[in-house]
């Protein structure tokens, strides 16, 4: 087998790996200590990179659907885009979705992804009732909250380290239309946006975009978007009244090549953020299709390439609720002072979540993008300190640079997770570049 260069969404790091395409569930021959499953590579860093990568996207069949309860069973390589394409027209939507639909069901479970409804509906894993997993021994097992529950809960958020998810069963959510009633509320600073989040707790969806370059009394200037699925009655006077479940996988506007590194300097970001702020301030409320509401970036395929060849880093952390205000302020100040604006800065209030190894916990989370430039790593280390000082933690699926200690501090149940991994993978077949870097395997 020949090796291939490969990287995930951030374009960094790039590794040379042997890629095994899993076409037939149950066939796999990984190398000890260096094998990891990979979905659509929408994690940003090295979570799904290893010497041997098992590409699971080829197993992508729907296996059963109950149109009474909405419970869907499918193979792990099925993408969210495919689920939407076939189920939105039938009146069903994903229970939880991240900001891109180009991820697999396996990836959604392994990262235990969250969406704009975390405060009400938790993570994707919360909706999973059963999984079929291929273990390191080659054995295929079923697990659920009642059967091999240790494996089940360690696999949710377990970043592929317990085995390869082959199948999963989870509930879809009934919708009357494919439209969203959206409100966009401008907030002049951090206090206002946090107040808006509090006031929006009853909304199913909420998220805010922050202008990271705003300083002083405007620190944390942002727009909060909140929304609900529109019912038939909400769209009866719109042009969509006769096509309430309209869904179309339209062709995307691609970014065909890498921009020169540095094309995204702080001026561009300023313009972009300013423009976005303006646009949405004017837009206010209205009915919008679920695609632009949930996946604004998917409309531009390969938008990650605007960061140029060197790629970029995502940085996402969550702070406990009690420290969120002070912590966020400190982080935003540090960013504004540096003038190292992030193209995208997304703020969200998480609800409560009990989990072993999943990222979310009650409090505010901030996700930032930084183009890779000299001095960035040093700057991020400074942010790490602020986050740790406030008792925060980091998201595996976005990380490609943290050191083991910084990472581990945020996850009190890590030891328990590693015990279960050891039980189901005693020889340590599964590990990623990330799990090695973080000294988990």
């Amino acid at each position: 087998m020949s090796k291939q260069k490969i990287s995930n969404w951030g374009g960094y790091p790039v590794v040379e790996s042997e890629i095994i395409k899993m076409n037939h569930p149950g066939t796999f021959s990984g190398k000890r200590g260096d094998t990891i499953a990979r979905g659509l590579g929408r994690s940003y860093g090295d979570s799904s990179l290893a010497e041997t990568i098992v590409d699971v996207t080829g197993i992508d069949r729907f296996l059963a659907f109950d149109d009474e309860t909405g419970v869907l069973r499918c193979e792990a390589g099925v993408s969210f885009a495919t689920i939407l394409e076939f189920f939105v027209p039938k009146g069903w939507f994903l229970p939880v979705t991240p900001g891109t639909k180009f991820i697999t069901v396996g990836g959604a479970i392994a990262s235990d992804v969250h969406g704009k409804n975390h405060h009400k509906e938790v993570c994707f894993g919360n909706w999973v009732s059963e999984m079929k997993i291929l273990l390191a021994s080659g054995e295929t097992v079923l697990c659920s909250p009642t059967e091999k529950s240790d494996l089940f809960y360690a696999t949710i958020g377990g970043m592929g380290l317990t085995g390869i998810i082959l199948e999963a069963e989870f509930a879809l959510k009934k919708i009357e239309t494919s439209f969203i009633k959206q409100e966009a509320l401008p907030a002049e600073n951090l206090d206002t946006v946090m107040r808006l989040f509090d006031e929006s707790k009853e909304f199913t969806y909420s998220v805010a975009w922050i202008d990271c370059l705003a300083k002083g009394k405007n620190l944390g200037k942002s727009i909060l978007f909140r929304g609900e699925h529109a019912n038939l009655i909400d769209i009866k006077d719109t042009p969509f009244a006769n096509t309430p479940l309209f869904y179309h996988n339209k062709g995307m506007l691609g970014v065909p090549f890498n921009f020169p590194s540095g094309s995204l300097n702080s001026l561009t970001i300023k313009l972009f953020n300013g423009f976005y702020y303006m646009m949405n301030k004017m837009k206010g409320s209205g009915i919008t299709h679920l695609d632009p509401f949930f996946y604004p970036l998917d409309a531009i395929a390969n938008w990650n390439r605007i960061y140029g060849k060197k790629g970029f880093l995502q940085y996402q952390f969550v702070l406990p609720l009690s420290n969120s205000r002070d912590g966020m302020r400190e982080v935003l100040q540090a960013i504004a002072v540096e003038g190292r604006g992030s193209f995208l800065a997304v703020l969200k209030l998480f609800g409560k979540q009990e989990s072993m190894i999943s990222f979310p916990q009650e409090g505010y989370t901030l996700a930032l993008d930084f183009p890779i430039m000299p001095g960035l790593l040093k700057f991020l280390t400074k942010l790490d300190e602020i986050v740790l000082k406030h008792g925060g933690r980091f998201y595996f699926t976005k990380d490609s640079r943290l050191d083991p200690d910084t990472f581990k501090k945020g996850y009190p149940r890590l030891a328990e997770f590693l015990e279960i991994k050891k039980k189901y993978d005693p020889d340590g077949v599964f590990s990623s570049r990330q799990s090695k870097r973080l000294e988990l395997t």
Binding site: N23, R61, L63, A64, F65, E75
Partner: protein, 243 residues
Amino acid sequence: MKNCLIIGAGSDVAKALAVEFAKEGFNLQLAGRNVEDIGKTAADLQIRYGIKVETLYLDVLKFDTHPDFFNNLNPKPEVVVAAAGLLGDQKVTERDQSATLRVINTNFTGIVSLLNEFANYFENQGSGSIIGISSVAGDRGRMKNYIYGAAKAGFTAYLSGLRQRLSRKGVEVLSVQPGFINTKMLQGVETPKPLTAEPEQVAKMIYNGFRSKKHVIYTPGYWRVIMFIVRSIPERIFVKLDL
């Protein structure tokens, strides 16, 4: 609603072709050995396209079961696709009689035994379509895979004769001559990337060939040219080549 039967439905090309037929509203009968896996494909197509899909056990090598397999089919399909095939290991087939027979019987004798049933039925009825997936390997025997190639050559000749017999009776026969396809058949075999097609691409070509009532298609079309050249090489030169 028309029915399409696929023989060897576990094949990667067959799976992709099933999607093409399903999209056009055909009901499907998926036949093969690995009924558990085929059952999953059936569930998927049912959920996606809202068509009826039946899973049937069939082993091409079990000749004596073929008449019953045909008789039990209900309804009888309007279209039959023969996708089952076995490449085998050339080096092994050179020395092991049972391996040789397995390759020949899977690609040729077994398929012929099955297709004869449908040919007669379609002839009587005055309608129907047969799609046979052969291979460019049958266009000229090469030392790398001539047992497989010989079986496919036999199958290609069979389809050609069948077409001549049935085309005057309102029955269509399509011969498909694929080049390299990125399927499990070629797992572990190194093939030139630019000449290796994806099963989905080949499936679309087969469906279009069927729709436009073609007789013989190469998938992709450039294989017609490649094989014309390969066939034109004089034998005294050919014997020295490592092609």
